[in-house]
Structures are given as C-alpha cells and as structure tokens.
C-alpha cells in the first residue's frame, strides 16, 4: 500500500532522514516512534508529498490524507463547512452535507456542526480534523501526533476511533511520542532515531514493548550503538 525506498532528506545539509526503507500492508496501522527531532514528521510530510526527499522513492496506492498535529482547521469556516468544502467541489449535491452530519453525529459532536474552531476543545478539534480527512475517502491516513495535548480519557477515545477507521479498510501511519498509545494501536512500530529506522517490531509479539522501546530514547549515541549490536544477536 505504501512503499518507501531508500529515502534521504536533508535540511540545510543536515540529514534528517537517512536511507529509510519500509513498506506497509493494506489496513495496517504503523506506529512511528522515536525521540523528538528523530524525523517522524518529516517522514510523514514526505509520504504526503508536502516535502520532497533528496533521494529515494515513495509509492502510495490510492488517495493519501494527512492530519496535522495542530489540525489546521479553516478558522473562517464552520465545522460543517470544513468537512464539506473539499468533497463539495466534486459532488455538487447535498450528499456531502448529509454524510458530514452523519459523521459528526457518529463522532459525538453532532451539536457542533455550526461552531467555529475556536469554540471547540482540543479533543473536539481532533475529531473534526479526523472527520474532515475521512470526508475525502482516503485509502491512506497519516496522523502526526494525534494525541498531543489530549488527556488520558480522550486519548483512549482516539484509539477507539482510529481502530474503527482501520476497520473501514484505511491504512494508517501514526507518528507519536506516546509509546503506550502507539503500542495499543499499532500492528507494527518503527522507531526513528537520528533519521534511521532503529527498531522495527510488532508490539503484540514483543515482551514488554514499552521497556524495549524506551531504551532507545535516553541512551547517548555510543551506548545506543552497542545496544543495537547486542540486540541483533
């Protein structure tokens, strides 16, 4: 569904992504873990073609949509207009509006259809952003830090929501610094550190994945290399 091959990305001569390769099966959820500055956002932006890799290729089957960390809802439009604007350009009937209201209802924010973004809480904005992405029927959904700024209960809601999105057949790549969240939701976790994929695990088949992944966060680079060598034996 997604095939990333040998992607290298530099910002001002600094390597942010270094020979990154992986592929994603349909309807899978891939978690991108790793310390801040590891290149998670950059990788997602390259997949969405918001940034262009310096070398390497990225192939996606079907329509890709990106959910921004800060949502980027359109502030001059109501929630409903945010949802319907893009699909209504292609479908001039009342269908997009009907669909949007249904979706808001399902997400438990049906009453917010006519609100503006500044009248929404963080969790509600998150839902609106998700609904707006789903309105264009993506095959692949990329989420950048979908739980940042959300409380524990709302994070649990996001897990449930994204799982139901997966059950609709949508393939997802989710970048997050929240390991517990990623482990709950991901079929596979890639840990990006200094622009490289340092770990590629299936959290369900790994003993104590949090502890395992945490090791890659705090260690200084030298020790980190040693650990890598040991873990490959």
């Amino acid at each position: 569904m997604i095939k990333v091959s040998n992607v290298r990305k530099l910002f001002n001569e600094i390597t942010v992504l270094d020979d990154v390769s992986f592929s994603v099966e349909k309807s899978n959820i891939i978690g991108l873990a790793g310390p801040s500055g590891g290149g998670k956002s950059t990788l997602l932006r390259c997949i969405q073609k918001l940034d262009k890799p310096n070398s390497g290729t990225i192939k996606c089957d079907g329509r890709v949509c990106f959910m921004f960390q800060d949502f980027q809802l359109f502030p001059h439009m109501t929630v409903l207009e945010n949802l319907t604007y893009a699909p209504a350009l292609k479908n001039k009937t009342s269908l997009p509006a009907k669909l949007a209201l249904e979706m808001l209802e399902n997400l438990g924010i049906g009453s917010k259809a006519d609100a503006y973004q500044r009248q929404l809480s963080g969790g509600q904005k998150q839902r609106v952003a998700l609904a707006r992405s789903l309105m264009i029927k993506p095959d692949i959904l990329l989420c950048d830090e979908p739980t940042s700024g959300l409380d524990v209960a709302t994070t649990m809601d996001v897990v449930t929501l994204l799982e139901s999105v997966r059950n609709m057949g949508v393939t997802m790549v989710i970048a997050s610094h929240d390991l517990d969240f990623l482990i709950k939701i991901s079929d596979r976790i890639l840990l990006l550190k200094e622009g490289r994929i340092a770990v590629d695990i299936s959290p369900k088949e790994t003993d104590n994945p949090v502890e395992y992944l945490k090791k890659f966060y705090s260690l200084p680079p030298q020790q980190f290399v040693e650990t890598l060598k040991l873990s490959s034996f």
Binding site: Q72, L73, P75, H76, L89, Y116, R118, I136
Partner: protein, 215 residues
C-alpha cells in the same frame, strides 16, 4: 449667504469626478495588487514584481501622473483624457501599496493552511478564493481602508492636469473671487466627509464579516 450656498454647489460638482477617479483607481489597485501579491507568493516573476513595486513606491505620484499623461502619449501615440490618465496612474500606484499590504496579510496565514488545502485535494484557484483570501481580507481590512483614504486624498493632484475634481473646482472658484479661504475650506469639508464615509463603510464590513464571530 447665498453666495456660500452657490459656492458649495459649485465645488460639489467636482465630487463626482473625484469619486470616478477613486473608484477606477481602487479597481485597478485591488486587481493589480492581488495579482502581484499572489504571483509573488508563488515565486512567479518575483524580482520583476519586486522591482515594479519598489519603483512605484519610490517615486512621486505627481511624477507618475505626468509620465502617463504627458510622456506616454508622445511615445506610443495614444491620447489619454485627463481622467483616464488619472485613473491609470493612481490605480498603478495604489496596486503597489495594495500588493505590499496583501503580502503582509498572506504571510500572516500559517503555512499549514495552504498545506491542509493541498492534502484535501483542493485546487489552487479554490484554495486562494475560499481558504486563503477570506482570512487575508479580514487581516488587512483596516490597512486597506487606510490605503483607500490615502488614495482619495492623493486624487487631488489630478488638478495639475486640469481635471475638474473637488480640488480644481475650489481653485477655479478662488481664482475667480480672489479669495482662497472659503473655497479651500469647502473642498476640505468635502474630502473630510468622504473620508468619514469610507471609514463608516469599512467599519460596517468589518462588523459584518462572519469570521469576526469565529475568532
């Protein structure tokens, strides 16, 4: 007393000419400024536009008016009426200022708004029309009202080439009566009333912006 009334009426016949100049120049200024700022943001002809804006803002308006009215016909063989020359030069001049105002307005929109439109598959023309510009307009409305007021006052230099606007009418009156005070005061009151009117319209638009409620 009777004379004052007839003086007011006489200078008032220039209001229509001043408004013609103003409205014509605003149209050219907004269309030109919009085009320049969007092209420039996208990187098309950036240095050409920067150069134009810089020259227009860096030379006196009265010189630009003179060029277009006196010099251009000599070079291209087109005879422009005074009012046409006024509308063109004030419009071009204003477009440079509008381009700068809009540049600041466009740059104040987060890059993520452009990217969000892109990820949703919104075509570029729709993105500008429905996503970016409505937000820009709200940000730049006060500056635009200021530009229109400045433009109104600058139209007074059209009197140099003999167009019978408010200013010219008051000068004619003064020359005829050998008194300057009353004719100039009358012209001043007309200009000031027009400025108040423009400010009033600006405030009305600002309040009617539905976006206002959302911020």
């Amino acid at each position: 007393m009777e004379r004052i009334v007839s003086d007011i009426v006489y200078v008032g016949t220039g209001v229509l000419v001043t408004l013609q100049l103003l409205v014509g120049a605003i149209c050219i200024g907004i269309v030109g400024g919009l085009l320049m700022s969007i092209l420039r943001y996208r990187g098309t002809c950036r240095s050409l536009i920067n150069g134009m804006v810089s020259i227009i803002r860096g030379t006196p308006l009265i010189l630009q008016l003179g060029l277009i009215y006196f010099a251009v016909p000599g070079i291209f063989g087109i005879k422009l009426t005074a009012i046409a020359a006024g509308i063109i030069s004030f419009g071009l001049n204003s477009s440079a200022y509008v381009a700068e105002i809009l540049r600041a307005g466009i740059e104040s929109i987060p890059k993520g708004q452009f990217e969000a439109a892109q990820t949703l598959g919104i075509p570029t023309s729709h993105m500008w029309k429905d996503i970016i510009l409505p937000q820009v307009v709200r940000n730049v409305l006060p500056a635009m009202v200021g530009e229109i007021i400045a433009l109104l006052k600058e139209t007074a230099i059209i009197s140099m080439i003999g167009c019978q606007d408010i200013m010219r009418k008051s000068q004619l009156l003064a020359a005829e009566q050998f008194v300057y005070f009353t004719p100039l005061c009358i012209a001043g009151v007309y200009y000031y009333l027009l400025v108040l009117f423009i400010e009033f319209i600006g405030r009305k638009i600002e309040r009617s912006e539905k976006y206002d409620k959302s911020i």
